[in-house]
Symmetry: C2
Subunit: 149 residues, 2 copies
Amino acid sequence: MGLSSETIAGIIENKIDFVRRMGLKVLEAKPRYVKLAAPLSGNENHVGSMYAGAQFTLAEIPGGALAFSTFDLERYYPVVKEISIRFRRPALGDLTIEIAMSEAEARRIAAEAEENGKAEYVLEGILRDASGETVALSRGVYQLRAARH
Amino acid sequence: MGLSSETIAGIIENKIDFVRRMGLKVLEAKPRYVKLAAPLSGNENHVGSMYAGAQFTLAEIPGGALAFSTFDLERYYPVVKEISIRFRRPALGDLTIEIAMSEAEARRIAAEAEENGKAEYVLEGILRDASGETVALSRGVYQLRAARH
Protein backbone atom coordinates (compact mmCIF):
# COMPACT_ATOMS: atom_id res chain seq x y z
CA MET A 1 0.00 0.00 0.00
CA GLY A 2 2.14 2.85 1.31
CA LEU A 3 5.72 3.80 0.49
CA SER A 4 8.82 2.51 2.29
CA SER A 5 10.46 4.37 5.16
CA GLU A 6 13.49 5.25 2.98
CA THR A 7 11.34 6.58 0.13
CA ILE A 8 9.25 8.65 2.52
CA ALA A 9 12.37 10.05 4.22
CA GLY A 10 13.74 11.00 0.78
CA ILE A 11 10.55 12.88 -0.09
CA ILE A 12 9.93 14.56 3.27
CA GLU A 13 13.53 15.61 3.88
CA ASN A 14 14.26 16.97 0.41
CA LYS A 15 11.18 17.90 -1.62
CA ILE A 16 10.13 20.97 0.37
CA ASP A 17 12.97 23.52 0.72
CA PHE A 18 11.39 25.05 3.82
CA VAL A 19 11.51 21.65 5.54
CA ARG A 20 14.96 20.72 4.21
CA ARG A 21 16.41 23.99 5.52
CA MET A 22 15.41 23.14 9.11
CA GLY A 23 17.00 19.67 8.97
CA LEU A 24 13.83 17.71 9.79
CA LYS A 25 14.38 13.94 9.70
CA VAL A 26 12.07 10.94 9.30
CA LEU A 27 13.35 8.43 11.87
CA GLU A 28 10.76 5.79 11.04
CA ALA A 29 7.72 5.46 8.79
CA LYS A 30 5.62 2.34 8.54
CA PRO A 31 1.91 1.80 7.97
CA ARG A 32 -0.01 3.80 10.63
CA TYR A 33 3.11 4.96 12.49
CA VAL A 34 5.72 7.66 11.93
CA LYS A 35 8.46 9.19 14.08
CA LEU A 36 10.22 12.41 13.09
CA ALA A 37 12.91 14.60 14.61
CA ALA A 38 13.98 18.24 14.42
CA PRO A 39 17.34 19.61 15.59
CA LEU A 40 17.59 22.66 17.82
CA SER A 41 20.72 23.72 15.95
CA GLY A 42 19.81 26.16 13.17
CA ASN A 43 16.24 26.52 14.49
CA GLU A 44 16.83 28.65 17.59
CA ASN A 45 14.68 31.68 18.37
CA HIS A 46 15.98 34.93 19.87
CA VAL A 47 16.33 33.34 23.32
CA GLY A 48 18.01 30.11 22.16
CA SER A 49 15.12 27.61 22.34
CA MET A 50 13.48 26.06 19.27
CA TYR A 51 11.45 28.64 17.35
CA ALA A 52 7.68 28.02 17.32
CA GLY A 53 7.56 27.69 13.52
CA ALA A 54 10.09 24.84 13.58
CA GLN A 55 7.98 23.08 16.23
CA PHE A 56 4.88 23.63 14.09
CA THR A 57 6.60 22.09 11.06
CA LEU A 58 7.66 19.08 13.11
CA ALA A 59 3.99 18.71 14.14
CA GLU A 60 2.51 19.25 10.66
CA ILE A 61 4.73 17.08 8.44
CA PRO A 62 3.85 13.74 10.15
CA GLY A 63 0.31 14.04 8.76
CA GLY A 64 1.71 13.77 5.25
CA ALA A 65 4.32 11.16 6.19
CA LEU A 66 1.64 8.99 7.80
CA ALA A 67 -0.59 9.24 4.74
CA PHE A 68 2.39 8.26 2.55
CA SER A 69 3.15 5.20 4.70
CA THR A 70 -0.46 4.10 5.18
CA PHE A 71 -2.50 4.84 2.07
CA ASP A 72 -2.14 4.05 -1.62
CA LEU A 73 -0.85 7.30 -3.13
CA GLU A 74 -1.92 6.23 -6.61
CA ARG A 75 -5.47 6.60 -5.33
CA TYR A 76 -5.35 9.18 -2.53
CA TYR A 77 -3.50 12.30 -1.43
CA PRO A 78 -3.57 14.13 1.94
CA VAL A 79 -4.49 17.79 2.57
CA VAL A 80 -4.01 19.67 5.85
CA LYS A 81 -7.10 21.65 6.93
CA GLU A 82 -6.20 22.97 10.37
CA ILE A 83 -3.44 22.70 12.97
CA SER A 84 -3.42 23.79 16.60
CA ILE A 85 -0.27 23.75 18.66
CA ARG A 86 0.05 24.45 22.38
CA PHE A 87 3.49 25.37 23.66
CA ARG A 88 4.04 23.98 27.14
CA ARG A 89 7.70 24.69 27.88
CA PRO A 90 10.77 26.02 26.04
CA ALA A 91 12.38 23.47 23.69
CA LEU A 92 15.99 23.54 24.87
CA GLY A 93 17.21 20.64 22.69
CA ASP A 94 16.29 18.44 19.73
CA LEU A 95 12.66 17.30 19.54
CA THR A 96 10.83 14.22 18.29
CA ILE A 97 7.19 13.48 17.52
CA GLU A 98 5.42 10.15 17.02
CA ILE A 99 2.06 9.82 15.32
CA ALA A 100 0.04 6.62 15.17
CA MET A 101 -3.31 5.55 13.75
CA SER A 102 -5.39 2.44 14.50
CA GLU A 103 -6.07 -0.11 11.78
CA ALA A 104 -9.82 0.48 12.13
CA GLU A 105 -9.36 4.24 11.65
CA ALA A 106 -7.17 3.71 8.57
CA ARG A 107 -9.86 1.42 7.09
CA ARG A 108 -12.60 3.97 7.86
CA ILE A 109 -10.64 6.77 6.17
CA ALA A 110 -9.84 4.78 3.02
CA ALA A 111 -13.43 3.52 2.71
CA GLU A 112 -14.88 7.00 3.22
CA ALA A 113 -12.47 8.57 0.71
CA GLU A 114 -13.37 5.83 -1.76
CA GLU A 115 -17.10 6.45 -1.33
CA ASN A 116 -17.25 10.25 -0.92
CA GLY A 117 -14.06 11.37 -2.63
CA LYS A 118 -12.69 12.61 0.70
CA ALA A 119 -12.42 11.67 4.37
CA GLU A 120 -11.48 13.84 7.33
CA TYR A 121 -9.28 12.62 10.16
CA VAL A 122 -7.62 14.03 13.26
CA LEU A 123 -4.04 13.37 14.34
CA GLU A 124 -2.78 14.33 17.78
CA GLY A 125 0.91 14.50 18.61
CA ILE A 126 3.24 15.26 21.48
CA LEU A 127 6.53 17.01 20.84
CA ARG A 128 9.08 15.67 23.30
CA ASP A 129 12.64 16.56 24.18
CA ALA A 130 15.44 14.00 24.61
CA SER A 131 14.42 13.32 28.22
CA GLY A 132 10.84 12.55 27.16
CA GLU A 133 9.38 15.77 28.57
CA THR A 134 6.38 17.21 26.72
CA VAL A 135 7.36 20.47 25.04
CA ALA A 136 4.27 21.04 22.90
CA LEU A 137 0.97 19.37 21.97
CA SER A 138 -0.46 19.38 18.47
CA ARG A 139 -3.80 18.56 16.90
CA GLY A 140 -4.15 18.41 13.14
CA VAL A 141 -7.24 18.02 10.99
CA TYR A 142 -6.44 16.42 7.66
CA GLN A 143 -8.38 15.20 4.67
CA LEU A 144 -7.58 12.22 2.51
CA ARG A 145 -8.81 12.91 -1.00
CA ALA A 146 -9.35 10.48 -3.81
CA ALA A 147 -7.12 11.31 -6.77
CA ARG A 148 -9.76 10.37 -9.36
CA HIS A 149 -13.23 10.66 -7.88
CA MET B 1 6.88 53.14 24.46
CA GLY B 2 7.49 50.56 21.73
CA LEU B 3 10.29 50.34 19.18
CA SER B 4 10.31 51.99 15.76
CA SER B 5 9.21 50.18 12.60
CA GLU B 6 12.82 50.06 11.31
CA THR B 7 14.19 48.64 14.56
CA ILE B 8 11.45 46.00 14.70
CA ALA B 9 12.03 45.04 11.06
CA GLY B 10 15.75 44.66 11.83
CA ILE B 11 15.03 42.34 14.76
CA ILE B 12 12.24 40.27 13.18
CA GLU B 13 13.91 39.83 9.80
CA ASN B 14 17.39 38.94 11.07
CA LYS B 15 17.51 37.67 14.65
CA ILE B 16 15.84 34.28 14.09
CA ASP B 17 17.57 32.26 11.35
CA PHE B 18 14.43 30.20 10.71
CA VAL B 19 12.50 33.39 9.94
CA ARG B 20 15.32 35.03 7.98
CA ARG B 21 15.62 31.95 5.73
CA MET B 22 12.00 32.29 4.59
CA GLY B 23 12.37 35.97 3.69
CA LEU B 24 9.62 37.26 5.99
CA LYS B 25 9.34 41.07 5.94
CA VAL B 26 7.87 43.64 8.31
CA LEU B 27 6.03 46.08 6.03
CA GLU B 28 4.82 48.28 8.88
CA ALA B 29 4.93 48.28 12.65
CA LYS B 30 3.43 51.00 14.79
CA PRO B 31 1.76 50.93 18.20
CA ARG B 32 -1.10 48.41 18.08
CA TYR B 33 -0.70 47.63 14.36
CA VAL B 34 1.67 45.49 12.30
CA LYS B 35 1.67 44.27 8.71
CA LEU B 36 4.02 41.51 7.54
CA ALA B 37 4.63 39.70 4.26
CA ALA B 38 6.02 36.33 3.17
CA PRO B 39 7.17 35.48 -0.37
CA LEU B 40 6.01 32.32 -2.12
CA SER B 41 9.48 32.01 -3.69
CA GLY B 42 11.64 29.70 -1.60
CA ASN B 43 8.67 28.62 0.52
CA GLU B 44 6.84 26.36 -1.92
CA ASN B 45 5.54 22.93 -0.89
CA HIS B 46 5.60 19.83 -3.11
CA VAL B 47 2.70 21.13 -5.22
CA GLY B 48 4.01 24.70 -5.62
CA SER B 49 1.83 26.62 -3.14
CA MET B 50 3.16 28.14 0.09
CA TYR B 51 4.06 25.45 2.60
CA ALA B 52 1.90 25.38 5.77
CA GLY B 53 4.90 26.03 8.05
CA ALA B 54 5.73 29.25 6.22
CA GLN B 55 2.09 30.37 6.59
CA PHE B 56 2.22 29.47 10.29
CA THR B 57 5.37 31.57 10.76
CA LEU B 58 3.74 34.53 8.99
CA ALA B 59 0.82 34.15 11.44
CA GLU B 60 2.94 33.68 14.58
CA ILE B 61 5.60 36.40 14.25
CA PRO B 62 3.13 39.36 14.29
CA GLY B 63 2.38 38.58 17.96
CA GLY B 64 5.98 39.39 18.84
CA ALA B 65 6.19 42.33 16.42
CA LEU B 66 3.00 43.85 17.87
CA ALA B 67 4.32 43.49 21.42
CA PHE B 68 7.57 45.18 20.32
CA SER B 69 5.70 48.11 18.75
CA THR B 70 3.13 48.52 21.52
CA PHE B 71 4.67 47.73 24.91
CA ASP B 72 7.74 48.90 26.80
CA LEU B 73 10.25 46.10 26.31
CA GLU B 74 12.31 47.26 29.26
CA ARG B 75 9.37 46.16 31.39
CA TYR B 76 7.60 43.39 29.45
CA TYR B 77 8.26 40.55 27.02
CA PRO B 78 5.80 38.43 24.99
CA VAL B 79 5.43 34.63 25.05
CA VAL B 80 3.34 32.57 22.61
CA LYS B 81 1.10 29.99 24.31
CA GLU B 82 -0.97 28.55 21.50
CA ILE B 83 -1.63 29.03 17.79
CA SER B 84 -4.38 27.64 15.59
CA ILE B 85 -4.33 28.04 11.87
CA ARG B 86 -7.06 27.07 9.41
CA PHE B 87 -6.05 26.65 5.79
CA ARG B 88 -8.81 27.79 3.48
CA ARG B 89 -7.28 27.67 0.01
CA PRO B 90 -3.86 27.08 -1.55
CA ALA B 91 -1.50 30.08 -1.30
CA LEU B 92 -0.46 30.54 -4.92
CA GLY B 93 1.48 33.78 -4.40
CA ASP B 94 3.00 36.04 -1.76
CA LEU B 95 0.95 36.55 1.41
CA THR B 96 0.43 39.37 3.90
CA ILE B 97 -1.08 39.54 7.36
CA GLU B 98 -2.24 42.52 9.40
CA ILE B 99 -2.75 42.41 13.16
CA ALA B 100 -4.31 45.20 15.18
CA MET B 101 -5.18 45.81 18.82
CA SER B 102 -7.48 48.43 20.37
CA GLU B 103 -6.07 51.07 22.72
CA ALA B 104 -8.32 49.80 25.52
CA GLU B 105 -7.02 46.23 25.07
CA ALA B 106 -3.39 47.41 25.10
CA ARG B 107 -4.07 49.32 28.33
CA ARG B 108 -5.77 46.27 29.89
CA ILE B 109 -2.83 44.02 29.02
CA ALA B 110 -0.16 46.39 30.36
CA ALA B 111 -2.11 47.03 33.58
CA GLU B 112 -2.72 43.32 34.16
CA ALA B 113 0.92 42.43 33.47
CA GLU B 114 1.98 45.18 35.88
CA GLU B 115 -0.34 43.89 38.61
CA ASN B 116 -0.08 40.08 38.13
CA GLY B 117 3.27 39.70 36.42
CA LYS B 118 1.51 38.43 33.28
CA ALA B 119 -1.49 39.06 31.06
CA GLU B 120 -3.00 36.85 28.38
CA TYR B 121 -4.31 38.16 25.08
CA VAL B 122 -5.68 36.78 21.83
CA LEU B 123 -4.71 37.96 18.34
CA GLU B 124 -6.64 36.92 15.27
CA GLY B 125 -5.25 37.32 11.78
CA ILE B 126 -6.16 36.74 8.17
CA LEU B 127 -3.51 35.63 5.70
CA ARG B 128 -4.35 37.19 2.33
CA ASP B 129 -2.97 36.85 -1.15
CA ALA B 130 -2.22 39.82 -3.44
CA SER B 131 -5.85 39.96 -4.63
CA GLY B 132 -7.11 40.19 -1.03
CA GLU B 133 -8.47 36.64 -0.94
CA THR B 134 -8.37 34.87 2.43
CA VAL B 135 -5.89 32.00 2.29
CA ALA B 136 -5.75 31.10 5.99
CA LEU B 137 -7.12 32.24 9.36
CA SER B 138 -5.05 32.32 12.52
CA ARG B 139 -5.76 32.69 16.22
CA GLY B 140 -2.89 33.10 18.67
CA VAL B 141 -2.93 33.14 22.45
CA TYR B 142 -0.04 35.16 23.85
CA GLN B 143 1.11 36.29 27.27
CA LEU B 144 2.78 39.56 28.12
CA ARG B 145 5.10 38.99 31.06
CA ALA B 146 6.67 41.54 33.35
CA ALA B 147 10.47 41.39 33.12
CA ARG B 148 10.94 42.05 36.86
CA HIS B 149 7.87 41.09 38.80
